[in-house]
């Protein structure tokens, strides 16, 4: 288990670096991260299942200018880990699925706060870099950037350990405390979650031309899949 957490911390650090400091190759997206956490903690499919829904939930908040969107990478670390621990041989029950997704929200908000803190510390690093350059030390730019990147990576690794630990506690201890009936009641909330994701995508892409495309496709796919379900 120690090795699994160590591996999770390394993957988490890479994901958090990709999120802001380096590359932006989308390795930090919830689908990627939750699947990876599911794989690390024993159930890749359960991780991917929650990752696919989480992928869309926070798209409505764009990382524009100085605004920091909710930390969906952190939410995915928690949800991927929790779902891997909560799933059984038959997979993840609907109640645990919904609970895992909703319990990940505080992680998304905590990550946002930590992100702000890191950026404030980076402000100090930037000021020190400028002072050193004024003294004629151009190497300070390399050091300043390295310090910033290290800070992002360390914060990411620590957050990953916290979220993965919380995810393990939720999946192993919290969710099993509620019986199958309570979890089934909780599953009543599940249909709303993918719709929040769809609304998130639509709010990003909404223009006069895209609105008919969205609703017509929704109608066509709804009718077609329902028809095939009834037939099959």
């Amino acid at each position: 288990m120690v090795w699994a957490f160590l591996l999770a911390a390394i993957l988490g650090a890479i994901a958090y670096l990709d999120r802001t400091a380096a590359f932006q190759l989308m390795l930090h997206r919830p689908l990627v991260v939750a699947t990876a956490m599911g794989a690390v903690f024993g159930n890749v499919y359960a991780g991917a299942q929650v990752g696919a829904v989480l992928e869309l939930l926070y798209l409505a908040r764009l990382p524009v200018g100085a605004s920091i969107p909710p930390d969906d990478t952190g939410a995915a670390i928690f949800a991927g880990t929790a779902s891997a621990f909560a799933s059984s041989s038959v997979g993840l029950d609907m109640g645990s699925f919904a609970a895992t997704l909703l319990l990940s929200v505080p992680c998304a908000e905590l990550g946002k706060t930590v992100d702000r803190l890191v950026r404030r510390v980076n402000g100090r690093i930037s000021a020190l870099t400028l002072e050193a350059v004024e003294r004629g030390d151009s190497q300070a730019v390399d050091h300043g950037l390295l310090a910033g990147v290290t800070l992002f990576a360390l914060a990411g690794a620590v957050l990953t350990l916290v979220y993965a630990g919380a995810g393990m506690a939720a999946g192993k201890l919290l969710l099993p405390r509620f019986g199958p009936e309570s979890r089934l009641d909780f599953a009543a909330l599940l249909p709303v979650l993918p719709l929040i994701g769809a609304a998130s995508v639509f709010s990003c892409s909404r223009t006069e031309r895209t609105a008919p495309a969205f609703y017509l496709t929704m109608t066509a796919v709804f009718a077609a899949t329902l028809f095939f379900r009834w037939m099959g």
Partner: protein, 255 residues
């Protein structure tokens, strides 16, 4: 110094790689200032080698406030290398670089935010999420390929256009057709988003049974999506809605 004494290929390549760390020391005061100075540093060291005072002045020029969409930064970076070549050769005023960067970073930020965050990312995300229902790795592969195909191409071509000069950079931005590409990807994202909503909606509707129940559920789904879209447009965070659902869920469990 002539233009043939400019930055060699090896140094240009080093600057290109360093652009991926543009946000490495992102901060509220200078934003991407340290990242920009770090990216262009190999070129400055080459151009002002043996002239430490001028090197210090050049580095300080690039430690001023800078912020743009990170994937569009390559255009400004390439053009800045070109302008620094001219400044080092005594053919341009050092103030020209600040004017150029400030003039371009805002508009490139707006174009890049709309294209990358407002259109390309939602499109890649929803395509990945849909295909992950078939197989997780298929979903991940499609998400990464769809996003990075455009992302890496724009970084590469933008940087090359910038290196060819400011006019070439502006020409690239005009010819790249970002407005139409943004619109196209938004339409694809909307179609895929609609497909996602329809597919997951029908799954639940199937559990309701008959035609009336399904039609009723469909109408509720459409209204829910519409209401949520309006809320998101009014700056309500998805977190607030999810927390509200978490409270409802806790009340369900409490009973």
């Amino acid at each position: 110094m002539t233009m043939s004494d400019g930055v060699p290929k090896k140094v240009r390549r080093s600057v290109w790689w360093r652009q991926f760390l543009l946000q490495g020391c992102w901060n509220y005061e200078g934003m991407q200032n340290v990242g920009f100075a770090y990216s262009i540093l190999p070129a400055l060291r080459h151009l002002y080698g043996g002239r430490p005072e001028e090197l210090t002045k050049a580095v300080k020029r690039h430690l001023e406030y800078f912020n743009t969409q990170p994937s569009m930064g390559g255009v400004i970076l390439g053009a800045s290398v070109r302008i620094e070549e001219r400044i080092a050769a005594g053919d341009a005023d050092p103030r020209a670089i600040g004017t150029f960067k400030v003039g371009l970073m805002g508009s490139l930020g707006a174009i890049g935010d709309a294209f990358f965050w407002g259109a390309l990312k939602p499109m890649a995300s929803v395509a990945g999420a849909i295909l992950a229902l078939i197989h997780p790795f298929l979903g991940i592969a499609v998400l990464l390929l769809l996003f990075n195909g455009s992302h890496l191409s724009i970084r590469s071509h933008g940087y090359a256009a910038g290196l060819a000069g400011e006019e070439s950079a502006v020409q690239y931005l005009k010819s790249a057709g970002f407005a139409s590409r943004t619109e196209d990807r938004k339409i694809i994202a909307a179609i895929l988003g609609g497909a996602w909503a329809g597919a997951v909606g029908s799954r639940t509707a199937y559990l309701f049974g008959g035609t009336t129940g399904s039609a009723g559920f469909f109408l509720v789904s459409v209204l829910t999506v519409h209401l949520l879209t309006v809320l998101f447009r009014k700056a309500v965070s998805p977190s607030e809605i999810l927390l509200f659902l978490l409270i409802i869920g806790s009340l369900i469990l409490w009973q």
